[in-house]
Amino acid sequence: MSTAHTDAAAASHDSGHSHAAHDDHGSHGPKFLAHHFDTPVQQFDTAKLGMWLFLAQELLFFAGLFVAYGIYRSWYPDDFSWASHQLDRFMGGANTIVLLFSSLTAALAVRSAQLGTRKQTSVLLLVTIVCAFGFLVIKFFEYQHKFHAGLLPGNLFNPDIHHLSASTQGLPIPAHGGSFFGIYFMMTGVHGLHVIIGIGVIFWIWLRNQRGEFTSEYWTPVDLVALYWHLVDLIWIYLFPLLYLID
């Protein structure tokens, strides 16, 4: 892995600050350093802190959905088991692998950005985006089947026995299957929304990388977008067994 240590680092830190011209950005450090930070490392730590606070908020936001899941599963364990068997484990498993792989490429994109290999960073970001689209396509086919089979939330729950899983043939249709599918569509829907937003922000970072904004001295935005993407992966790591793999 060759390292292209380029120009931007050159900005010297030893030059005396001219405090008179505070709004003169160029005078106190490298170009990427915002004028309200003293050093690049202070700017970096601040950005990371902000991102982790945002991720903590995301976790607590999803926690509400996980608690709803816990309540309804503890109330209707058999209904949840029946409904879980209607989900396609193969598609769910495939999506897990797609998302894990996209997390790998996102992590490698950060590494590439840290080394300043710009072209490689762009390719890895694009692969991550392609995986995200792949995830959505698989999800679309899953949703399509649910609509087709009448496996829908709440009062819309009206299963067509001809489209149900072979593993539940002969079993009575549970009264509270709609509760499961309400939670299923809410959790996977909000997660899918995060995937769509992820595609948008990763594309934005790809554009900025193409414009040459990032170097081996400044790659914070690539790091932060990858953190977001890993969180989307993290949520799915729990959604997959909880929704698809109920015994």
């Binding site: 050093t39 490392v41 202070q42 990371k48 982790w52 991720l55 903590a56 607590l60 590494r111 997959f240």
Partner: protein, 148 residues
């Protein structure tokens, strides 16, 4: 693997960001471990272990999540305060889950005393637990498992 000198945390005095750059081998290794655990969790879900299935599924998911957070999200080399924020949010999510389930799972025990465990509107048993008879036999037990 790294073009940077290995002094990660000790040389912040120059003001530049000295990131720890992990090797490609490490990232690919973590990815393969994640795939391995995914296969294991699918495999174990096919074996009927009763309530243990859920516990194992959550345990494996947590191992996977820990790998992602530690290595992909660099919490291993990150500022410890960021780890505190993350773990703190998990703790509070746990408090949220535990207290709520404790309420909703045992509600019928109180309602039995109040005679309010049937939904007046529909005549159905109100959500909150198995019928009174089962409760009386096994107080404190979780919701009845029919199982397949």
């Amino acid at each position: 693997m790294s073009a940077h000198p290995s002094h990660d945390h000790d040389s912040h005095d120059d003001g530049a960001v000295h990131a720890h750059i992990s090797s490609i081998r490490l990232y690919v290794g973590i990815f393969l471990a994640l795939i391995f655990f995914t296969v294991v969790t699918v495999g174990l879900s096919l074996i009927h272990l009763g309530p243990l299935n859920l516990a194992i599924a959550i345990l494996i998911a947590t191992v996977k999540a820990a790998l992602v957070v530690t290595f992909f999200m660099h919490l291993k080399d990150d500022n410890r305060f960021n780890a505190l924020i993350f773990v703190g949010s998990l703790l509070f999510a746990g408090v949220f889950l535990a207290y709520t389930l404790n309420d909703t799972g045992r509600r019928s025990e109180v309602e039995r005393m109040q005679g309010a465990y049937v939904n007046d509107a529909t005549g159905e048993r109100a959500p909150g637990g198995p019928p009174v008879v089962e409760r009386a036999v096994q107080p404190g037990a979780g919701a009845a498992h029919g199982g397949h």
